[in-house]
Symmetry: C2
Subunit: 328 residues, 2 copies
C-alpha cells in the first residue's frame, strides 16, 4: 500500500512539476563526411525513423516530468544498444581489435558529473558514468578499475563480442591496410559518437555522451567523450553541450566548456558561441566535428563543420527536427 502511495505521489509530483517548465531535447549520432549520395536509401530511412522515435520518446519522458538525467541515460542507452552508432553495440575497434568504451554525463544544476574511460565489459557506459557520479566519491574512473566498480554496483559483465559488428571489423581492416593510417586522416574512422542534451520540467539542463572512440586508437587512448569540459558540459548558468568529432582537438580546445564560457562571459548567443568554436577555432585548427547545444531557455543549436551530422531535436514549442545531412 505504501508502495502504491509512493508511486502515486511520484507521478503526481512529476505531473505538477511538468507543467512548470517547457522542455526540450536534442540528440546527435555523430558527425562525419558521409555524403548524401553515398548513403543507401534503406539505411537513410532507418536512421531517420530511429531518430524520430528517440527524440519523441525523450520528449514524452521530459513532458511527463522525468528528470533530465534519466532521459539522457534512457535515450543514450537506446543508441548504445543499436548497431547504427559508434557507442555500445556498434562501437569501433582499437588497434588490437578490442572495444574500449567511453562515456560521461553532467547535471547543469548541481554541476555533478560522472565519466568512465576504456570499459570493455559493461553494456551501457552511460549508465555506469551516472553511477560513478552518484555512487562513488570520484568523477572519472578508468578501465579495469571502472569495471570492478561496475561489478560492485551490480552491473552484469557482458562478453565483449556483444559490441561486435561487421562494420566495425571492416573499418579496422581498412584502417590497418591504409598506408596513411598513422596520420589518422580518414574521418570515416572517427565519428559516430552519440549524445543527448535536455532541458527538463524542473528547469535543469543535462548532457551526456557515449562512444567507442576512434577506429585504431592505441595505448589506452582517452578521447574527449569522457572528458568533462571537452566532450560534455552542462551548467544552468550558460548551456549544455555534447560533442562529436576528432577528440584530440576537442580536448585541447575544451570545446564543451568553451561554448558555455562564451555564453556566460562574452554574452554570446548560443549559436554565436557554438559557431565561434566549431566553425571558427576548430576549422582554423583543421579539426572536424560538431556539437549539439542547449541553453536554459531550451533553444537548440546544431553546429558542425563536417558534411553531415546525424541529429534530431524537439524545442520548447514542440517543433521537431530530424536531419542527417548538412543541406537540410
Amino acid at each position: 500500500m505504501f508502495f502504491f502511495r509512493l508511486v502515486f505521489f511520484a507521478l503526481a509530483t512529476a505531473a505538477a512539476v511538468a507543467e512548470d517548465h517547457a522542455v526540450a531535447i536534442a540528440i546527435h549520432g555523430g558527425a562525419g563526411t558521409l555524403e548524401r549520395v553515398a548513403m543507401d536509401p534503406d539505411k537513410e530511412s532507418q536512421y531517420r525513423r530511429f531518430l524520430e522515435e528517440l527524440v519523441s520518446d525523450g520528449h514524452d519522458q521530459l513532458t511527463e516530468g522525468h528528470p533530465g538525467l534519466d532521459v539522457v541515460v534512457n535515450i543514450i542507452q537506446k543508441m548504445e544498444a543499436s548497431p547504427l552508432f559508434n557507442a555500445g553495440r556498434g562501437a569501433v575497434l582499437t588497434w588490437e581489435g578490442n572495444h574500449e568504451l567511453d562515456a560521461s554525463i553532467m547535471h547543469g544544476g548541481t554541476l555533478d558529473a560522472g565519466a568512465v574511460a576504456g570499459v570493455t565489459t559493461v553494456r551501457s557506459p552511460i549508465a555506469l558514468a551516472r553511477s560513478v557520479m552518484e555512487s562513488s566519491p570520484h568523477v572519472m574512473l578508468s578501465r579495469e578499475g571502472a569495471e570492478e566498480f561496475a561489478l560492485e554496483q551490480g552491473y552484469e559483465v557482458i562478453d565483449p563480442s556483444y559490441f561486435d559488428t561487421d562494420t566495425s571489423r571492416k573499418a579496422l581492416e581498412d584502417f590497418r591496410n591504409d598506408s596513411q593510417a598513422n596520420a589518422l586522416a580518414d574521418t570515416a574512422h572517427k565519428f559516430g559518437t552519440v549524445g543527448v542534451v535536455v532541458l527538463d520540467a524542473q528547469g535543469h539542463l543535462s548532457a551526456g555522451t557515449s562512444t567507442g572512440g576512434m577506429t585504431g586508437k592505441r595505448w589506452g587512448r582517452i578521447g574527449d567523450s569522457p572528458v568533462i569540459g571537452a566532450g560534455t558540459y552542462a551548467d544552468d548558468r550558460s548551456c549544455a553541450v555534447s560533442a562529436t568529432g576528432h577528440g584530440e582537438f576537442f580536448i585541447r580546445y575544451a570545446v564543451a566548456h568553451d561554448i558555455c564560457a562564451r555564453v556566460r562571459y562574452a554574452g554570446a548567443s548560443l549559436a554565436e558561441a557554438a559557431n565561434a568554436v566549431v566553425q571558427g577555432e576548430l576549422v582554423q585548427a583543421g579539426a572536424l566535428g560538431g556539437v549539439i547545444a542547449m541553453n536554459p531557455a531550451g533553444e537548440i543549436v546544431f553546429s558542425f563543420n563536417t558534411p553531415n551530422m546525424i541529429r534530431a531535436g524537439i524545442d520548447t514549442k514542440g517543433n521537431k527536427q530530424v536531419a542527417l545531412f548538412g543541406d537540410e
Copy 2:
C-alpha cells in the same frame, strides 16, 4: 664540423631570442591544510631551499632561451624525483597500495597538449605526457596502454617500489583506519600535486602538472591533473594555469580553462579570474585547493583557499617569491 656549427647556431639563436621577451616562472608543490605550527623547522627550510633552487634554475633556463616546455618538464622532473611532493617519488598510494601517476602538459602557442593517467612504472610522468603530445596522434593515454607507449618510446621500466616513501605508507594506513574514510573529508590525503607555468623567451606560455592523485583513490580514478582544462591549461590568448586540490571539483568546474575563459571573454584581470574561481566558485562548492596562473605579460597569480600552498615564482622584473603559508 656541421655539429658544432649547429650548436653555435642554436646557442646564438637562443641568446638572440632570449633578449626579445622577458621571462617568468611560477611553481607549486600542492595546497593543503598544514598549519605553520605543525611543520617542523627542518622540513620547512628544506622546502624553502628546494623551491628557491627550483625557481632560480627554471628562471635561468628561460633566460638562456630554453623553450617553455623544456623548462616545465625539467623543473617538474626535479619535483617528481624528490620525496617532498605527491608526484613521482613520494606519490600517495591507492586503496590497494599502489602508485598510479597522472600528468599533463600544454603549450599556449600551439595549444598542443599531452597527458597520461594511471601509469605505474614510468619514472617521470611529465616527460611521458610530453612524449604523448609530440610522438603520438593522441592527447591522453592511460594505464597499461600508456606504459606500452612508454616502452616503445624507449622509457626505462621502473620498479614501482622506487615511488615508495614511509610518509605515503603511513597516509594510506591512516586513511584505511579512518572511520570517515569514505567521505574523503581529510584534506591531508589530497594534496601535494606539483605544477609549473612559464613565459618563455619566445613569448609563449606553457603549463604542466604531475601528481600521485589522492590517497586511497580507487577503481582507476582519474583526477584533474591529467585532464586538459581542469588541472592544466595554457593559451597565449589568455593565460596558463596549473591546479592542485580536490580534483573531482576541479574537473566539474573546469578550473584551469574557466580561469583562462574569464580572462579572454569577461575581460577579467588574471587575479580577478583566478580568485573568482578559487575563492568564489570552489569555496561555494566546498572544494579545497589552489592554482598558479600566468598571463602573456608574465604576471603571476597564486590563488588558494587552503591555509597554505607551497609556491614560488620569479616575475619578469626578476622579483623572487618563495612561500609556504597563507599569511606570507
